[in-house]
Symmetry: C2
Subunit: 206 residues, 2 copies
């Protein structure tokens, strides 16, 4: 397929260079910077990857594989449902924690990609969403609404964990385990189960 035995090793080297640059400068690293890091000039990059999206795509595929496999495995662990969910959450948070720049690249698709522009979910995350959808469909009985609910929830949960994970990475408000609990609690309907608070008096002016 794409693994031409003559071409592939150089491709790997170039991707390694790109990886280093992204690790250092974040996902908006320029093609010039990547070429320089690889010790060459731009046209070679374009020969190998077509355009910037091609490069970034190849770069993300590398890491996506790992993340996706980890999430998929977690989704199929033979655990109680709650424990399984917690495990999935923990796997995701551990991943973004270990290499933030890389996972920012995976989770925050940069610029003007005409491919379904304006999506909240990057390709890697769409794959995760699909994985969650599949898991729900296979594991949980939702009656006739199953297909719609599982698809909706797959996207929803992915977006929820994405936003929560970003915020957690930035502000580190608590250890990972506690974050896992907070998210699982939300999915477990604790928001609906908790007691009401008495309505506020007139708000104290500050």
């Amino acid at each position: 397929m794409t693994t031409d035995p003559r071409t592939e090793p150089r491709r790997e080297q170039l991707l390694n260079a790109a990886d280093r640059v992204v690790q250092r400068e974040g996902p908006s690293a320029s093609m010039n910077a990547i070429a320089a890091e690889a010790g060459i000039t731009k046209p070679i990059l374009y020969r190998h990857f077509g355009d910037r999206n091609g490069l970034i795509g190849a770069l993300t595929e590398r890491h996506t594989a790992g993340l996706l496999a980890a999430v998929r495995a977690a989704l199929n662990e033979p655990l109680e449902r709650r424990d399984r969910v917690e495990h999935v959450l923990d796997v995701y948070l551990a991943a973004i924690e270990s290499r933030p720049q890389v996972y920012r690249l995976l989770t925050h698709p940069e610029p003007g990609d005409p491919t379904g522009a304006g999506n909240a979910l990057a390709p890697a995350l769409r794959q995760i969403a699909e994985e969650i959808t599949r898991a729900i469909q296979q594991q949980i009985d939702l009656g006739r609404d199953g297909p719609l609910l599982s698809e909706t929830w797959g996207r929803s949960i992915t977006g929820m964990v994405l936003a929560a994970g970003d915020w957690w990475l930035e502000t580190r408000p608590c250890p990972r385990a506690r974050m896992v609990q907070a998210l699982a609690d939300l999915l477990w309907g604790r928001l609906s189960a908790a007691a009401d608070l008495p309505p506020m008096l007139a708000a104290p002016e500050a």
Copy 2:
């Protein structure tokens, strides 16, 4: 303050032009295009707004006000909790449905803003998240974990609705009311309450 009575009317005109362009071309409209739409040239835009971020910032603030007010009002409706949540969801989905391009601008901050780069949540959405956090804190008794949970959940719910809303706008898998139900069901823990499905047989090789 920023409302210089001499400068402000022109600002409004320019923002109107920018609005039209964004409505037509999406959030990645160029400064040249906006200037042309306003019948002028670039430097004037830069005099008024400093840089591109300034312009789109001013543009978003306009619309943010409306969306935020609507969400805030919905969060404080005197309804049963479930009805209130459904109402908030409906308000948000109705908003993004009515003017997708504008709300894409609000919800998908374009590119290389060094200001807290790589955030999942645009400024407008962060404000919504804070609003949700506040509502949870004021209305629901979560015990000692209240502060952490409400903050986490504010971000999480925002991200969840963002992702779900984007997907819904793209694929329109169901009417709005059904989407509202699906999301409320998720928050109400239906994922945890539903029955297990019998474990799959060996996967059929495809």
